[in-house]
């Protein structure tokens, strides 16, 4: 990934920065310039809480080349407690324990390393919250 492209995403990648529409309250991750619910253009930026739950999931067994060393790995859509949804790998649990509705927490992890000399790419992965 070109350096400027990963740099632009730092606020989201490293701080989970989201934006809430000042008019209707809908929250977006990543932030947008126009609200897709009310067309509002004013937003308040905030850092999302790291907690949410699994909406759906899969296990990727045939990955793209970039992730070929990691397969198989679990992946899911996470409903964040602050409102937005996002796609995340789900780690630190046996595949058979994956469940819709399971509570998770996003933790800062290594996502991929790009080629032999390329930069290591960090981001968030979901881990189960043991109650």
């Amino acid at each position: 990934m070109p350096p400027a492209r990963s740099w632009r995403a730092y606020p989201q990648t490293y701080r989970l920065e989201a934006a809430r529409c000042s008019k209707c309250g809908k929250a977006f991750f990543p932030p947008r310039l126009v609200c897709n619910k009310c067309n509002g253009r004013q937003f308040e930026h905030f850092e999302m809480k790291h907690t949410g739950k699994v909406v759906t999931h899969t296990i990727i067994r045939t990955p793209s080349d970039e992730f070929s060393g990691q397969a198989p790995f679990a992946l899911g859509i996470i409903q964040m407690d602050d409102g937005p949804r996002l796609t995340s790998q789900i780690v630190d649990l046996p595949f058979e324990e994956l469940r819709i509705g399971m509570p998770v927490r996003l933790e800062f992890r290594r996502i991929s390393s790009e080629g032999e000399a390329g930069a290591i790419h960090y981001g968030h992965k979901a881990v189960p919250v043991r109650i």
Partner: protein, 384 residues
């Protein structure tokens, strides 16, 4: 708006066509369509192609294809809407003829996918998703549809066997289509025991990597008698979009772009779901055919799986779906798929479909889809 008809169709056999270039593949099918219509010059053309740049390092197909088709100087445009590129190219051609701008317009589609390896092909296809917020986590296209399948199974009780029934039916239909890539029967057990790709989807739930093209010729309906074959009228056209990221959709068990495009097409045509005699739908994965059949209104929500399992969508069923073999058996050269659906409907409505002919077919529906449903196109055709 003028009424518009399809007057010629062309499609060569699909598969791994190592001996042929993108332009060879396209020109062969385009010439078949022009010969079928009996025309040797075009007023304009549109070419659906998702990513000739990533697959073959060649952009600017508008110029390439007009040049190599012997039509240099006509307006010629490449159209991109991921896997819906072909369907959107057909809609552009339809609108151009309907508007009165031109009389003889070719809509084609092409994708040459086997010049790159499997990993590069997976990457090229993944660019139809939200690369920054889905792709970065390692999501693949089978992975996105697998997540829809898990949600659909959870909400409606759709079963692994029902998913497999879609692939078994489409492969059976494909054995009767001489242009299909994989003309062999498969079994439910075979699908369930095939190599895992993204749980619960296996390799036999997935459409293949394919080289191929398709083309059709559109003219004003009142000009049809000047041509040698019967015309098929385009009575409805719809096109809609949805969020690019699957995770931004409130309901993962339906495809709202499909429903909206279908509503536009039903309204324009004056037809209802009960008037549809056969449908060609975008079965890029088995779960896609089930969700699409529900989103089109052909079945109630949650009933698409059981309908496939009991044969309601088979050739002799209540509403035959993918008589051509679908993307699953016929192949899925992404930019060509939407145009190939129109080829199949035209041949069915002309009664030229051979062993896979749907009896007394008068009205057909084609549904083509981009990415995980971020765009969709629906067309309805009727015999004249």
């Amino acid at each position: 708006m003028r009424d518009v008809a399809v007057i010629g169709v062309g499609m060569q056999k699909w598969g791994e066509l190592w001996e042929k270039s993108t332009r060879d593949i396209f020109v062969e099918s385009a010439l078949l369509a022009m010969d079928d219509a009996g025309v040797d010059s075009l007023d304009a053309m549109y070419i659906g192609s998702m990513s000739p740049g990533l697959f073959t390092s060649q952009e600017h197909l508008g110029s390439v294809m007009a040049d190599y088709l012997g039509q240099k100087s006509i307006p010629s445009t490449r159209v991109e809407s991921a896997c819906a590129s072909g369907g959107v190219a057909f809609r552009m051609a339809f609108m151009e003829v309907a508007s009165g701008m031109h009389d003889i317009v070719l809509a084609g589609g092409v994708e040459k996918m086997t010049d790159v390896g499997g990993g590069d092909a997976t990457h090229a296809l993944a660019t139809a998703a939200d690369m920054q917020w889905e792709g970065v986590q390692g999501v693949t296209f089978p992975g996105l549809y697998a997540m829809m399948a898990v949600a659909h199974m959870d909400k409606y009780g759709t079963t692994r066997e029902q998913l497999a029934a879609v692939a078994v039916k489409n492969h059976h239909n494909g054995t009767m289509n001489p242009r299909a890539q994989f003309r062999m029967e498969i079994t439910v057990e075979g699908v369930i025991n095939s190599t895992k790709v993204a749980d619960p989807l296996n390799i036999l739930d997935c459409s293949p990597i394919t080289d191929g093209a398709a083309a059709v010729i559109l003219v004003p309906a009142d000009m049809v008698k000047k041509f040698k074959k019967p015309g098929v009228k385009v009575i409805g056209s719809g096109h809609a979009t949805d969020t690019i990221a699957l995770h931004d959709r409130e309901d993962l068990t339906t495809l709202s772009a499909v429903t909206e495009a279908a509503e536009q097409a039903y309204k324009m045509s004056g037809k209802d779901t009960k008037d549809i005699d056969l449908a060609e739908v975008h079965d890029c994965f088995t779960i896609a055919e089930i969700i699409v059949s529900e989103s089109l209104g052909l079945f109630e929500r949650g009933k698409g799986g059981p309908a496939a399992e009991v044969g309601e969508t088979s050739l002799k069923g209540r509403i035959p779906i993918n008589a051509s073999g679908g993307l699953k058996s016929k192949g899925h050269p992404v930019g060509a798929t939407g145009v190939a659906q129109i080829v199949e409907l035209t041949e069915q409505l002309r009664g030229e479909a051979g062993d896979r002919q749907v009896s007394s077919a008068r009205v057909g529906l084609a549904q083509n889809m981009g990415g995980s449903g971020g765009s969709s196109v629906v067309h309805i055709l009727e015999v004249m």
